[in-house]
Amino acid sequence: MNKIIEKEQLNNNVVKLIIDAPRIAEKRKAGHFVIVKIDDKGERIPLTIADADAKKGTITLVIQKVGVTSHKLSLMEEGDILTDVVGPLGNATEIENEGTVLCAGGGVGIAPLLPIARAFKEAGNRVVSVLAARNKDLIILEEEMKECSDELIIMTDDGSYGKQGLVTHGMEEILDKEKVNLAVTIGPAIMMKFASQTTKKYNVPTIASLNTIMVDGTGMCGACRVTVDGKTKFVCVDGPEFDAHKIDFDEMIMRLGAYQEQERKDYENYLETL
C-alpha cells in the first residue's frame, strides 16, 4: 500500500507522481526501477524511478498515458493508494568519472535519464544532454535537466521548440565538435536504436536502458528477454542497462509489440467507459 503524496501534470500526456515508499527511497540509485500494480485487478508494470527523497521517504515516477494502466495511473489523485509498489529493481547505473558524458533522452525517457545525468554530473563529469520529442509539449523536465547539464540541446520533430530534427542530429552536433567518452540513451526503442547507430559511427561506448514488457521484475518469467551480443538476457535482473551497440533492437521492437493489438483493444474499450 503506497500513497500518492503529490501529483503534477507535466503535459497533456505525462504526469509526475510522488509516492510514499520509504524503503525504496532509501535504497534506490540512479538506473533502478519499480514494479507498480495500481489495484486488485491491475497488471504489474515497470516504471523507472525518476527521483527520490530519502528523508521524506518518497520516490518520483513519471508516467506517460499509453495504455489502460498508465491512463488509470494518470487519473489518480493525491491521497490515492497504489496497492503494490516493489523495488528497487534492476542494476543501478555504474557511475564513474568518465570525462564527458552525452545523455540523449527521448519523450518520457527523459524522466529516467534525469537521475543518471545528475549522478554523472555529481561524479565530476562534463554532462552534455540532448532532449528530443515530437513537439514542444512533449519535452519534459527541461529545467531539471538544464541544472545538471553543462550544455543542453533540444530537438523537436516539428521544430516547435529548440532545433528542428531528430535526437541523432543533436547528438551528431556534439559528437562532431568534442570528444565524448560515454553516451547514455533512454527513450522509445526505435530512438535508442538510431542513437546507438550514431554513437557507433563515432566509436563512443554507449549504454541504453531498456523498457521491455515485464511481469514479475525478479527474473522469474522471461517476458523481458532481449538478445545482447547474441545471448538471451533478462532486462529486469541482467539490466535494465546494456551495451547499446550489442543490443538486438529489431528483436526488442518486435517483442514490445507482443500485446499491441490486444492492448489497443483493451485501451479503446477502457476509454469508452470514461
Binding site: 500494480k37 503494490d84 516493489v86 511481469v215 522469474m220 518486435m254 517483442r255 509489440g257 490486444q262
Partner: protein
C-alpha cells in the same frame, strides 16, 4: 529412529486402533476395490478453471480407509518425506473421526490440503504401500484420503489452530513464501518466535499461487492455510525483495537473529534455439503467472495473455502438464505436448498425465524442437521438430534421447510454451557473496540442520534442491526450523554463560 518406531508401535496398540483393526477381516479388506476419485467430465472441465477432482464423499472415504490393513510394519510411512503417521490418520477416517484425522496430519504436515492434491503419491507413500509391495494390487488411496480429511476440517469451520508457545520476542526472517517458507514459519511461530515472511511478489504462496493452476489447487485452499498462519501470529510482508528492498544485513540491524531462505527455483530455462524469442513464445512461468497470479483469463483484470488455437508446450513435467491443460481451457483447438523422451519417462505426476490425455491433449513424445519461424509481425507460426529415439541410460538412469538423422518436420503453431525446467533464483546468492553455492547456483547446506555457510542463514526447498516438490520443500522447512531453533538456543546459552 528407534524412538519413532516405538511411538508408532505404542500408538498402534491403543484400544481404539485394536478395535477398528478387528472390526473387519483382513481378507475382506483386501478384496475391496480402490476408490475412484469423482471428477468433472473431461469435455466439461477442459473449458473451465474449476478443480478437476471433486473430492471423496464421507462414505467413499470411510470405505477406502477400510482397505488399509493397519500393518504392523507400515512401510508407507517410510515413503513419506515428512513421515506422516499414515495408518493412524486413515484409521481415524475409518472410525468416522474426521477432525481427529486432520489433527494427525497436521502433527507433521503444515499443508495437508495442498499435499493431498499435488504430491506425487505414486512414487512416495502409495508406492511403498503393502498392497503394491506384497499383494500387487492398487495401493490404498492415501493422497485422496489426506485431501479428504484436510478438506473436511476446512469445510467444518473447526480448523484446529496449533497451540502457540509464549512469545519469546526473538525475531526470525523467512525469505520467500513458498511451501518451504510457510513450513518454517508454522513451526517457528509455534515455538514462540516473532516470525516475518518476506515475499517479492504481491501474493503469498510462491509456486502454489503463481504456478499450479486453479483446476489442480484452488487459491482459496492456500489462502486458508495462510490465514491460519496469520492467526498464529506470523507477519507477512509482500513486495519486499530481500537483497534490494532491504538486505539481510539491514534486517540483522533491525534485530532479526536468524534467516531461512526459501526463494525457490524461479529462473526459467530456454533451449537457446533459433527463433525462441519470437512473439507468443513464453516460458511456462510467464504463461502460468499471467493466468494464475494475474487472472489474465478474466476480462475484469488488466493483465493480457495471448493463447492461440495451436499450442505447443515443450517439456514433460508438472509444469508442462499445467501449461498444456491451461491452454485448452483458454480455448485452444490443438494443445500439444512435445517431449524428447517417451511418455513413461515424463517426470509429471501420473494423475496429471492421465487427466491431460482425457482432456484431448496431443502427446508428441520422442520429439524435440529445433527451430521456430514467424510471420511478418514476428508472431510464431511454425516450428521445426526432430524425432528422437532412446539410447543408453544417462546419469539419471533414464534412457538418453538421441536425434534421428533426417527426421525433421514442421508443425503449425501459434503459441509455444517452453516448460523445460527452472534454475535457482539468483537474487539472494547474488546479494550475499559470502554464501556458498554450488556450480548450479543452489545454496549449500548441512543436510540435517539446513544451515548454510553463513551461520545465521538456513535454506531449503528448490533453492537448495533445484526444481523439486512441495513436500520436499516442506520437509526441508521443518528441518530448517529445528536447525534454527537449536542455533538460536545455543547462541542464547553462550550469551548467558
Amino acid at each position: 529412529m528407534d524412538n519413532i518406531q516405538e511411538t508408532l508401535k505404542a500408538e498402534r496398540q491403543k484400544p481404539w486402533r485394536e478395535e477398528i483393526r478387528k472390526a473387519i477381516k483382513p481378507k475382506d479388506r483386501t478384496s475391496m476395490q480402490r476408490v475412484k476419485m469423482p471428477e468433472q467430465e473431461p469435455d466439461v472441465r477442459n473449458k473451465n478453471h474449476k478443480e478437476v477432482n471433486r473430492g471423496l464423499t464421507e462414505q467413499m472415504a470411510v470405505k477406502e480407509a477400510q482397505r488399509c490393513l493397519d500393518c504392523a510394519n507400515p512401510t508407507c510411512i517410510s515413503g513419506c518425506p515428512v513421515g506422516i503417521n499414515i495408518p493412524k490418520f486413515i484409521k481415524r477416517i475409518e472410525q468416522g473421526e474426521f477432525l481427529e484425522s486432520a489433527k494427525v496430519l497436521k502433527e507433521t504436515n503444515a499443508l495437508p490440503a495442498v499435499c493431498g492434491r499435488v504430491c506425487p503419491q505414486e512414487v512416495q507413500c502409495e508406492a511403498s504401500c503393502f498392497y503394491v509391495q506384497k499383494l500387487k494390487k492398487d495401493p490404498v488411496a492415501i493422497g485422496f484420503l489426506e485431501r479428504f480429511a484436510a478438506d473436511y476440517e476446512r469445510n467444518s469451520g473447526n480448523i484446529s489452530i496449533p497451540e502457540v508457545k509464549k512469545k519469546n520476542g526473538i525475531k526470525v526472517g523467512i525469505i520467500g513464501s513458498g511451501p518451504s517458507g510457510l513450513a518454517v514459519a508454522g513451526d517457528m511461530v509455534k515455538w514462540g518466535y516473532d516470525v516475518t515472511v518476506f515475499e517479492a511478489l504481491h501474493e503469498i504462496g510462491g509456486v502454489l499461487k503463481y504456478g499450479i493452476p486453479e483446476f489442480r489447487l484452488p487459491n482459496e485452499i492456500v489462502d486458508v492455510e495462510i490465514e491460519n498462519l496469520k492467526s498464529m501470529g506470523v507477519k507477512f510482508k509482500t513486495n519486499f525483495v530481500v537483497g534490494t528492498t532491504g538486505s539481510v544485513d539491514d534486517l540483522r540491524e533491525e534485530g532479526f537473529e536468524a534467516f531461512f531462505v526459501g526463494s525457490g527455483a524461479g529462473l526459467p530455462r530456454f533451449m537457446n534455439i533459433k527463433g525462441e524469442n519470437y512473439r507468443r513464445i513464453f516460458s511456462s512461468n510467464e504463461y502460468l503467472t499471467r493466468v494464475n497470479l494475474m487472472n489474465a483469463a478474466n476480462p475484469d483484470y488488466d493483465t493480457p495473455v495471448f493463447s492461440g488455437k495451436n499450442v505447443a508446450v515443450i517439456g514433460g513435467g508438472n509444469t508442462a502438464m499445467d501449461s498444456v491443460r491451461t491452454s485448452k481451457r483458454l480455448g485452444a483447438e490443438k494443445s500439444m505436448i512435445i517431449y524428447r523422451r517417451s511418455i513413461e519417462e515424463m517426470p509429471a505426476r501420473v494423475e496429471e498425465v492421465e487427466h491431460a490425455k482425457e482432456e484431448d491433449i496431443i502427446f508428441m513424445n520422442l520429439n524435440n524442437p529445433v527451430e521456430y519461424f514467424a510471420d511478418e509481425n514476428g508472431n510464431v507460426n511454425r516450428m521445426r521438430v526432430q524425432k528422437m529415439e532412446l539410447g543408453e541410460p544417462d546419469s539419471s538412469g533414464r534412457r538418453r534421447p538421441v536425434p534421428l538423422e533426417g527426421s525433421e518436420y514442421e508443425v503449425d503453431v501459434d503459441t509455444v510454451v517452453v516448460a523445460i525446467g527452472v534454475s535457482p533464483n539468483p537474487l539472494i546468492p547474488a546479494s550475499m557473496p559470502e554464501l556458498d553455492v554450488t556450480d548450479w547456483g543452489t545454496i549449500k547446506v548441512d543436510q540435517d540442520s539446513m544451515q548454510s555457510s553463513v551461520e545465521d542463514v538456513f535454506a531449503g526447498g528448490d533453492i537448495v534442491r533445484g526444481g523439486a516438490t512441495v513436500i520436499l520443500a516442506m520437509g526441508d522447512g521443518r528441518k530448517a526450523a529445528a536447525g534454527m531453533h537449536s542455533y538460536i538456543q545455543e547462541k542464547a546459552g553462550k550469551r548467558k554463560s
